[in-house]
Amino acid sequence: MSKLEVKNLHVAVMDEEDKGQPQQKEILKGVNLTINTGEIHAVMGPNGTGKSTLSQAIMGNPAYKVTEGDVLLDGKSLLKLPVDERARAGLFLAMQYPAEIAGITNVEFMRAAINARRPENDQIPVMDFMKLLDKNLALLDMSDDIVERYLNEGFSGGEKKRNEILQLMMIQPKFAILDEIDSGLDIDALKVVSKGVNALRGPEFGSLIITHYQRLLNYIIPDAVHIMMDGQIVESGGPDLAKKLEAEGYTGLRNDLGLDVKLTDEI
């Protein structure tokens, strides 16, 4: 069993809107979260509240600066590790906005990712790789030609999301953070993506699912749901919390909790 812990995490970004001296802007203001393998946690929260920031900070995106607190994997701090080492340690982030890279084929990329986890003298045999790929393509209802295309280049929104899940299934990390994997998906695609995640479910796999919609959680039933507002987790509970949120909205929930935070769509 593995454990991913986020302890009192404060994260700042460089605010580039201010002309002249760039200012540090604090986005996360003390996030606490513990996920064990075997568990699926959902994080919900209004736009601009810091959900993607949390996922990027855990993964080690250099644009996000941890000013206080820690991220630990099995008790060891990850903060000093660059993103590729965190990935090899077992983290995976399905990004809200995956990069497009012309010239590198999807298949070449996935093989490199798998081989990066293996010793140089024990790279994955091509046949094994192709078998695994075919199996996962079938499971995700994806066509073969997508793997020969350049990485995410010209992919539709939905194709990009599926491709993130395909990579997830190929790499099989200990912990996967899925940042709005459901946004922009039609209902069939949503089911397919959920099927992929559920296929990985088991004692060796944990996940943090960021979503705006309770609907995804009908397909991937979480063990815990956390509500994030203004850079903090303000409420945690079971799957019912997501349903309550769906019914009341963030404003209702905020008022229930008596919080003093401003939501972006309020004037």
Binding site: M95, G103, I104, A113, A116
Partner: protein, 435 residues
Amino acid sequence: METTKAEIELKPAVSAFSAAHDEPAWLRDLRLKMLEQYPKLALPKFDKISYKKWPLTAATKPVVQESAASALADLSLDRANAKNVLVMLGQTVIKAKLDPELAAKGVIFTDIFTAVREHPELVKRYFMTTAVKADANRLTAFHAAFLNGGAFLYVPKNVVIKDAIQSYYIQDSTRDQDFVHHVLVVADENSEVTYSENYATVGDKPNLANVIAEVIGKANSHIHFSAVDQLAQNTTGYVSRQGRLAEDARVDWAVGAMNDGHAIVDFNTDLIGRGSHAEVKVVAVTTGEQLQGINTHVTNIGKHTIGHILQHGVILENSALIFNGVGHIVKGAQGSDAQQESRVLMLSTHARGDANPILLIDENDVTAGHAASVGRVDESQMYYLMSRGIDKKMAERLVIRGFLGNVLTEIPAKEVRQQLTATIERKLENGQKSE
């Protein structure tokens, strides 16, 4: 004055060298004339490439020297077992093979000195007379004066050669000696040939290399010319490839500029005949402290001629890479097309790069276009790749491969593509060592 000094000191040696190869009078006389002239001629000018201080004209005394084949042990000459192959180390022919069937058809493929002796008329007619003249500039004149190796390929009328002609020209820098190498390719009417050349260096003495390849395509001939240049770090190189095409002739250049030292790679193709066509594809990688200046020039002279230039290069460490692309359509070349694309990708903050498109259009009824860019590796792309566990070097390599792949996929011959890919990997591995 230095000019006379060079002449006085080197004249006996040049004469002796010529005599040792039993050269005919015309070649000896050309050497001596160019020996006299070269110091006075101007260096060729290449936009934005400054190389005046490079030791490209400090001649070593020419001497006939044998090189031992054992020096090649460390090199992998992967296609040296081809049917048609020439392997040279310094001035020494290590291996020369030509399919007897081709020889029977009149194909000639031999080292340049043998060619001068055995086919004097053919060589005399084309050697530095047509594609480039010996007295064109200081470097060409130097070349004629100090020529000490090379090859001659002749494809007779209507002969189509299926198997590639392979060549390996290895500079011997285990001793102090200039490498002055000439390749002359003549494709006669309606012929077709694939010629592939590889340059490399053994030894680490600081020497100069002055290489000129002349390609003469007669009417309706088709030449596939590929080259991989891997001269060593201690070599200062001038590598020039000059083409001249008659009616409906075509040349496809596919070149990897993978030298490790300072180098000028100069392509010049003159589309003389109506409907002639040149495709120039160049990939380049620079590393260390080197500068590679790549000057690619196509001149549309005949009507309805086509000149296309596509060059992509990657710059690592403290190196510099300059791509000049010159598309020149002269007056009278109606219906011609000149297109070019030059792109440079910089991987380090110390790298310097330039992509410099020049279109010179003196005729109205033509099509022409250019694209050029100098960019850095996109941080968000690197982050994405690395977020899957791929380390920084591998991620860079993937990005570079992708970038150069845009040119490689345009090269029709699979073998050439594979070879260029392998060379790129080697060069990248070296280039990433210091990071």
